[in-house]
């Protein structure tokens, strides 16, 4: 078994995440990979640089895994987030959710990516044609009940 969570500068491999999960009794595996897009808000993106507060980012990923275990006890989840410079098309985040049944696997993976964007201290620095900008999304607060409900709703539960 590999690590269920990682903040890493090396390229991500969704397949490795899946292989790292305990496969006993599993009937469904859902994965999600977020990739660097070539455009954002009408800007031509050249590359991205991700920065993290690493120890807290890892703690955030662990917290998401705990939230998922609480909501979907049969789901096994792994989340790896890459940091540093990434080119167009490279994977910045990879999630794998394994479960006896498909509904839970999908819901857990969907929930996880929403929560990552809500609470994990990682920041995206976008270098685009004509400039660069720090992307600022959500105020990181794991206790924000509304945010968590929004993530649950996105997961369709």
């Amino acid at each position: 078994m590999g690590a269920g969570t990682a903040i890493t500068t090396t390229p991500l491999d969704a397949d490795a995440l899946v292989r790292a999960l305990d496969a006993t009794g599993i009937g469904a595996v859902a994965t999600f990979v977020g990739l660097v897009r070539d455009n954002n808000l009408g800007r031509k993106v050249l590359h991205l640089e991700y920065e993290a507060y690493e120890p807290l980012a890892l703690r955030g990923l662990e917290l998401i895994i705990a939230e998922v275990s609480e909501k979907w006890p049969a789901v096994r989840l792994a989340i790896h987030h890459r940091i540093g410079r990434m080119e167009i098309g490279e994977a910045s985040v990879a999630i794998a959710a394994a479960s006896p049944h498909r509904a839970d696997a999908f819901a857990a993976a969907r929930y996880a990516i929403e929560r990552i964007k809500q609470i994990v201290p990682i920041w995206k620095h976008e270098y685009f044609e004509g400039g660069d900008v720090w992307i600022e999304g959500a105020t990181a607060d794991p206790d924000n009940v509304e945010a968590r409900e929004k993530a649950m709703k996105a997961a369709c539960t």
Binding site: Y53, L56, H81, K117, P121, W123, W134
Partner: protein
């Protein structure tokens, strides 16, 4: 007493450093640390409403008291994923 202030993303750019060592009065809260930081770097003021914080690499509240040697981090809105 002293704390280590950790800054990220645009806050780091504004301060020109990701790590600062600052003296704070006894009984200071995270809020105290943030207020002096804003006084020192007025460009951080727009973050007043959207910032969150961590103490010793754990999610925290602005009302939390800080102790000598603590690492106090200020987190601009996150954008991972």
């Amino acid at each position: 007493m002293h704390v280590t202030v950790r800054l990220f993303a645009r806050l780091r750019d504004i301060a020109g450093a990701g790590e600062l060592r600052r003296e704070v009065p006894g009984g200071a809260t995270v809020s105290t640390v943030w207020s002096s930081l804003m006084a020192e770097f007025p460009d951080m003021s727009p973050y007043e409403k959207s910032i969150s914080c961590a103490v010793n690499a754990d999610y925290s509240r602005f009302t939390a008291t800080v102790a000598d040697g603590d690492e106090v981090a200020f987190l601009p809105p996150v954008s991972g994923g």
